[in-house]
Amino acid sequence: MIKPLPTKNGKLPSVADLMSGIKALALPVSVAVVLTTTPPQVFGQGIAAEQQPSVRDNRLTGSALAAESSYSGEELRKLHPTDLLRALTLIDPSISGTDPQEQAGSDPNYVPETMDLQGAQNFAWQLSSVDALPLIIVDGHSESIERLKDFDMRRVSRVTILKNATATALYGVRAGHGAIVIETASPANERLRLTYNFDGASQKAALRSFDFMNGWRKLGWENFVGMYDGQDQLYQERMKTLRDNGSTDWVEMPVQTTFTHKHRVALEGGDSSLRYRGVLYGQPGGKGVMKGSDREMYGASAYVGYSTHNVHISNELSVDIVDASVSNYGYMYQWAQMNPYYIPADGLGRPYEELGEGTFSAQGSPLYEASLQSFKNNKITRVNNSFNLSWEIDRHFTVSGQFNLTRDLDKRSEYLSPMSLYYKDYTVDDNDQKGSFRIYRNRFASYQEQVWGSYRLSEGRHNLLATVGLEAYSSTLSGDGYTGVGMSNDHMNYVSFAQRYIRDGRPEGGEVYERMLSAYATVSWSLDNRLFVDLSGRVDKSSLLAPDHRTAGSYSLTAAYDLKKTALLENSAAVKALTLTAGYGTTAGYQFDYGFANPLYSYDIDNPYLNGMGSYDYSEGLVSFLRTNIYNPALKWKDNRNVNVGLRGSVSFLNVALQYYNTLTKNLLTMEPRDLSSGFGYNYANGGEIRNSGLEFLLSATLFKSQEGLNLSVFAKGVANKNKITKLPDYSAELFNEHSFEQRQYLGMACGNAADGLYALPSAGINAETGQEEYYLRDGSVSSTPTAADLVYMGSTTPKLRGTFGLTGAVRNVDFGVVFSYSLGGKYYNYYEQQLIDLAGAGVNVPLAALNKWTSLRTNAAYQGIEAPLDYASSRFVYTRNTFSISSLRVGYTFSERIARKLYMRGLKLNFTCDNLLYSSSVKAIHGYYYPYATSFILSLQATF
C-alpha cells in the first residue's frame, strides 16, 4: 500500500544544497566549527561573538552533539507553521509514544503524558510518571510539556533532540528520559524591523474510520439476532420512524469544520550595544473539530539586551494566557454507539433525554447532554523571566550566569448541570446533591540559576575549550480544589449557586517539591580540526532521589574524526565530506516518586481508634495515624548507558547519515519479594534492565537543479528500534501480569521480551454452541476460564521500521514540499474492535463488521455473541500493522521585492500547508476513539516592514 516515489535521475547536486531539505541526524553545526578559536556557532546561531547579546545554553557543545538530531526553526515551520510538537513528531521518527492508543486525535487541549525518544525505556507497569517525558530546555532553563505544547513556533531558532546518554550527561538526572533543547532567535541586528505573521487554519474531522451501521441495517441486524422476537410492534414502530425520517447520522453531530486564526506582531532592532524586541501574539479562536473544544492564546514578550566590549546582559520577560475549553459533547465513540433509528429531537428542535426508554436498547442522548450548560474549562497564566549575564574577562576566560523565574497558574472549572443524565437515578431526597461545580487550581513556581565559567585556548594544532558550571533548581507545584453541589436549574453555572459541599467529599490539596543542586564540567579538545574529543561529567544532588543515594553522577566521552581530511579521501571528488563519530556515556535519571523512597503517614479519618461519646471524664476520640507506604530509602536512579557510532557525509549526489546506538537502561525500579516478618511481602529494588538498540538513517539527494531556480530534492529517513527486557525479577513480572490479567489489559512483562510487548490469550475461536470465545491454555487444552499464566507474548508494538520520506523543491518564487510517514511491522492491539464489536450488545450501534457476530444461526463467527461475551485480551485482536499517511503538504510563494515594496513591505511570504491529509492503515480500527483526527489546511502569511 505504500507507493514508492518515482525517482528521477537528475543532474548532480551541489554539496551546499544537500542539507537544505529536511534533515534528521545531521548536525549542521559541525564539530569542525565548534572548536575553532572563534566562538562556536551554536552559541549565537551565526552571529559573531562580539555582537552576540547573550549566551543562552552553554551545554550545547562538542562532538557529543554530533550524534543528535537538530532542526532549524525554518525546517520545522515548513512542516507545521503553528504546532511545534506536531512538527517535531513529523521531523524526527524516533519520537514516539505521545498518544499510544491513538485516541486523543486532534484535540487542541491534549497534552502528551508520555514521550519516548529512543524506544521504550520503562516497564509497562508505569509505577511512576517522573520519567515519562523528556526534559524540555528552552534557552538553558527547563519548561513544562504544557508550555511546549503552546510554544510560539515563530520564536524557534533551533531544536535539538538529545536521545543518547552521551549528550544528556550534561543535563543530568532530569534528562534521564532524553531532552528536547530549544533555542530561540535573538533580535535582529537592524535599525527597526516589524514582522507580522498570520496563520489561518481550517480543520475538518476525518470520520472515515467510523463506519457504523445505518438505521436500516441496524434494525435488520437486531431483528436477525432475535431482539424483536415477540415484540413485533416495537419493530414495526421503529421501521415506521425510519421510513418517515430516514436514518440519523449521529457521528456528524458533534463535529464541525472550523476556521481559526493566529496573529503575531514583532518589533525588533538594535545595534552592537543595544538590542530590543517586543512581541505580541494571539489566537483569538482555537476551536477544535469537536464542538465546544477550544484553546485561545494570547501572549506578549519583551527582550532587552545590552553589550559593552566584554559584558553582555539581557533580560526577557514573557507572559502567556491560555483559555482552554473541553468539549461538552463527550467522546466520539458515544455518538458512534447511538442507534441510528432514533430521532434525536422533537419537532421544535428540543433533544430527547432518553431514547428507546424501556426497551432493550434504551440510550441516554449525548445531544441532550450537550444541550445543557455543563462545561469544563481551564484558564492558564504563565510568566517567565530570564536574565542572562556574560563577562569576557580576557581572551581565555568567560564567566556567565543565568537566572530564571517561572510561574504557571491555572484554574480549572467544571460544571455539571443538575439536568444531566448523570443524576437520573437520584431520588427526591438527593435533590440537594444534583449539579456540581468543581474548581481546581494549580500553581507551579520554579527558580533556576546557572553560573559557569569557560576557558578557551588555542595553541598551534590544539584547540581547547573547558567549561565548569553550577546549577540550582527549585520548584514547587501545589494545587487545591473543592466541589460544590446543589444547583436547582441548568443555568446556575457558577460555583456561588451551589448549596453545599459534595456529600462525602472533602477539599482537596497537595504540594510537591523538587530541589536540585548540580555541578558540571566539560572539556573539548581538537587536533588539527580533524580529531575532536569531548569529555563531560555532571553531579546532581536532588530531593527526588532516595535519601541514601541523593547524589547521582553522569559522564560521557565522545569523539569525532573528519575522514575527509585523511590522505585517502582528501582529493576524492566523489566523497565530499565524511565524518565518523563515536561515543560512550551514562546518564542518571529519575524513576520513582517520593513515596517509593521515603516513609509516608496519613490519618485514617474514617476509622478513629476510639470514637467515644461518653461523659467528659473520658476521651472524646482518639484519631489514628498510620504508615501507609512501603519504601526503600536505598533506591538508586536509573542509569542509561549508551554507545553510539555514526557516519555521515556526502558521496556523489547522495547525502547520508547513519547512526547505530545501543542503550542499556540499568537499575530500573522493580519489586522483589521479602520475608513477611519484615512487615511487608515485598519491597522496591533496582532489579530491572532494558536494552534498546537501533539504527537511524537519513538519505537525501538533490535530483535536479537548474540555473532558473528550479530544484528538486528527495529524502527518506527512518529508525529501526529493538527493545528487550534483559533483566526482570520473576516476582515483578508475575505480579504485574496477574494484575494486567485481572484488569483485562493486553500488557505484560517478561524477561527476554520487548518492554512494550503485547500479551494476549491465544484464541481457539468462538464456540459454536455458546457463542463465547475459547482459548488455548499453556497445557494445550482449550478452555474459556484462563488464568494469568496463560497469557502469551504477542510481539513488540515498536514498528520494525518507521520514518518519513518526501520531496522538496522550488521553482522561481514558489517552493513546495511533501512529507509521507510510514510505519511497518509493529504489533497492534485492536482495542476498539474488541470494545465496539466483540463486546457490544444489541442495544448500541455497531460497526458493519458486527454482522459477523455469533448467533445461533451463524455459528462460524468471527466475533462473540451478544450474550455474556468474555473480555479477556485475545490474540484475535492482535495485528501486525503497517500505516501510511500524507502528513504534510506545503506550497510557499515568496513575493518579489518589487511587489513587496509597492505594499510598503520589505518582504512578503505566503505558505499553504496541509496537515494530516490522509491516513491509512492495514488494520481497520477506529482512529480517534475519544476525539476525531482532523485534516488541517493552513494559510500562513509573513510580512516584514
Partner: protein, 455 residues
C-alpha cells in the same frame, strides 16, 4: 573568577545542610516531619492499635471469628469445621493464618518504626513522662505481639522449646533473627520486664495522673484500658513465664499477677446495669471496636439466617446466679455479650474486644500459686474467683482439694470465662492437653503441637 567563587559559595551555603533537599510533599499523606510534636506520636500509637483491632487480627481472626472455634465452645459453621478440629490444611486455616502472620508482623514493624522515630526525634517536646511511657509501651507491645505469634505458630514450650519457627524483629530495616522458642521466650520476658520497670514509673494507670492537656487526649488513667498498660504488661509477662513450666517461673508469674490483684483496680462485675454485657469493668486491656465492627462479627456468626453458630457447651454448667449467664440467649447462642445494644459504661461505645481480663489474672494466679508450691493459696484464689466474684459458691473447691482437682476446676472455668475471646485454646496448648471437640466425641490429642500453618 571571583564571581564564580562567590556564587559557588552562595550556592553551597544555601545547600550545605541536607535539609534543603529534604522536602516532603503535602497532601493526603505526610512524611516524617510530621513527627515534630507529641500528638503525632500519640496518634501513631493509636494507629497501631487500630490495626490490631481489624478483623484480620483481634477484630475477628484471633477472637470470636477464628481462634475461639479452636476452644471448642461453639458448633462451627460448615466452612470452619476442619479448622475447629485443628485440621489446618484447608483454605480457611491458610487464609486466616496468612492474614494473622502478615498483620502481626506489620504491627511489629510499626512498633519498631515508632521506637526508631522516638530515638531519631529526640528534640521533640513531650509532657513530662509521656515520652518514656509511650516508648516503654511500644516495647512491651512488640514483645506481646511476638509472644502471640509464638503461641500460635510454634509448638508449646513444654513440647519442643528448641523449634526455630519465628524471627525476633526489632528494626524496620534489618532482617529479624530466627530464634528457638526458648530463646524467644527469654527475650520476651526480658523485654517485658524492662518495659514494666519503666511503665511502673510513668503509666498513669499506676501514678493516677494523666498526661492529657487541652489538645492531647487518651492518657487519663481510665483511658489506659485501651492500651497495653502496666497491668496488662504484667499479665502478659505472667502468660509468658507460665509457658516455661518451671517452679521458679510460676513463682515469678504469681508475683506479677498478685501485683494486679493487689492493685484493686479491676473489680468483677457482680451486678449488671442492663447495658454493659461484655463487662468492660473487668478489662485490663481491650481494643475498642469501631462503630459496629465487633458487633457485626458477632451478629454474623450467631444470626441463624447467616452463619447460625450455636453453643457447644451447656449453659447450665454455670451456677444459677452466675452473671456470665447474661451473655447467652434462649436460642443457644451468645448474641448478647457482643451485641450492639450492649454499650460500654463510661465510654458509650459498642462492645470492645477483650484482650486481657481480670478473670484470667485470677485463674493464672491460682494455677501459678499451686505450681510454685502453694496449693492452698491457689485453691483460695480459685474459690475467691468462683465463689465470691462469680456468685457460684456451689462450685467452690474444698480447702483440701488436690492439685489435679484444682487444675480440672480451672480448666473448666477457662471454657466459660473467655467465651468468644479465643483464650481457652492457648491455655490447652500451653499444657499440651487433649481436648474433646465441640461435638463431644472427637478427641483432639496433643494440642501442644498444633501450630498455625506457615504457607
Amino acid at each position: 573568577m571571583k564571581k564564580i567563587v562567590y556564587t559557588a559559595l552562595l550556592l553551597l551555603t544555601m545547600s550545605s545542610c541536607n535539609s534543603w533537599f529534604e522536602v516532603e510533599p503535602k497532601g493526603d499523606s505526610s512524611g516524617v516531619k510530621t513527627f515534630s510534636n507529641e500528638s503525632a506520636f500519640r496518634d501513631y500509637m493509636n494507629g497501631i492499635y487500630t490495626e490490631l483491632r481489624s478483623t484480620d487480627l483481634y477484630g475477628s481472626n484471633l477472637t470470636l471469628g477464628g481462634l475461639e472455634f479452636l476452644s471448642q465452645t461453639f458448633v462451627p459453621y460448615e466452612e470452619a469445621k476442619a479448622w475447629t478440629l485443628c485440621d489446618f490444611s484447608g483454605s480457611f486455616a491458610r487464609t486466616l493464618s496468612h492474614e494473622v502472620y502478615t498483620k502481626m508482623y506489620r504491627a511489629i514493624y510499626q512498633c519498631n518504626d515508632i521506637l526508631e522515630l522516638f530515638a531519631e526525634k529526640s528534640d521533640v517536646l513531650f509532657v513530662d513522662g509521656s515520652r518514656e511511657m509511650m516508648m516503654a509501651e511500644a516495647r512491651a507491645l512488640r514483645a506481646f505481639l511476638h509472644f502471640e505469634l509464638l503461641r500460635l505458630y510454634a509448638p508449646a514450650y513444654g513440647v519442643d522449646s528448641s523449634a526455630e519457627v519465628l524471627k525476633w524483629v526489632e528494626s524496620t530495616s534489618k532482617e529479624g533473627a530466627r530464634m528457638s522458642t526458648a530463646q524467644m521466650t527469654e527475650k520476651i520476658i526480658s523485654e517485658l520486664t524492662a518495659a514494666i520497670g519503666e511503665l511502673g514509673k510513668y503509666d498513669p494507670v499506676v501514678t493516677g495522673v494523666g498526661y492529657d492537656d487541652n489538645v492531647l487526649l487518651g492518657t487519663s488513667p481510665i483511658d489506659r484500658k485501651w492500651k497495653l498498660n502496666y497491668y496488662a504488661a504484667q499479665a502478659v509477662l505472667a502468660r509468658a513465664l507460665m509457658t516455661c513450666g518451671t517452679t521458679e517461673a510460676y513463682g515469678k508469674a504469681y508475683v506479677a499477677l498478685d501485683t494486679i490483684i493487689q492493685s484493686g483496680k479491676y473489680p468483677f462485675v457482680r451486678t449488671i446495669d442492663d447495658r454493659d454485657y461484655s463487662f468492660s469493668a473487668e478489662y485490663i486491656f481491650g481494643l475498642p471496636s469501631d462503630n459496629d465492627g465487633f458487633c457485626q462479627v458477632s451478629e454474623d456468626l450467631f444470626n441463624p439466617a447467616r452463619k447460625g453458630v450455636t453453643l457447644a457447651l451447656d449453659v447450665n454448667g454455670l451456677s444459677a446466679d452466675d452473671r456470665r449467664r447474661y451473655w447467652f440467649d434462649n436460642d443457644n447462642t451468645m448474641r448478647t455479650k457482643f451485641d450492639s445494644t450492649s454499650v460500654l459504661d463510661n465510654w458509650e461505645i459498642a462492645p470492645s474486644i477483650p484482650v486481657v481480663k481480670i478473670g484470667e489474672v485470677y485463674l493464672m494466679a491460682a494455677e501459678s500459686a499451686a505450681k510454685s508450691g502453694n496449693l492452698a493459696q491457689g485453691v483460695a484464689l480459685f474459690n475467691d474467683f468462683i465463689g465470691t466474684q462469680r456468685n457460684s459458691a456451689d462450685r467452690q473447691l474444698p480447702a483440701t482439694a488436690t492439685a489435679a482437682e484444682l487444675e480440672a476446676a480451672i480448666g473448666e472455668q477457662y471454657r466459660y470465662e473467655f467465651m468468644g475471646e479465643g483464650v481457652r485454646f492457648l491455655y490447652c496448648k500451653r499444657l499440651n492437653q487433649t481436648m474433646t471437640a465441640y461435638d463431644g466425641t472427637t478427641s483432639i490429642p496433643s494440642v501442644g503441637s498444633k501450630c498455625l500453618p506457615l504457607e
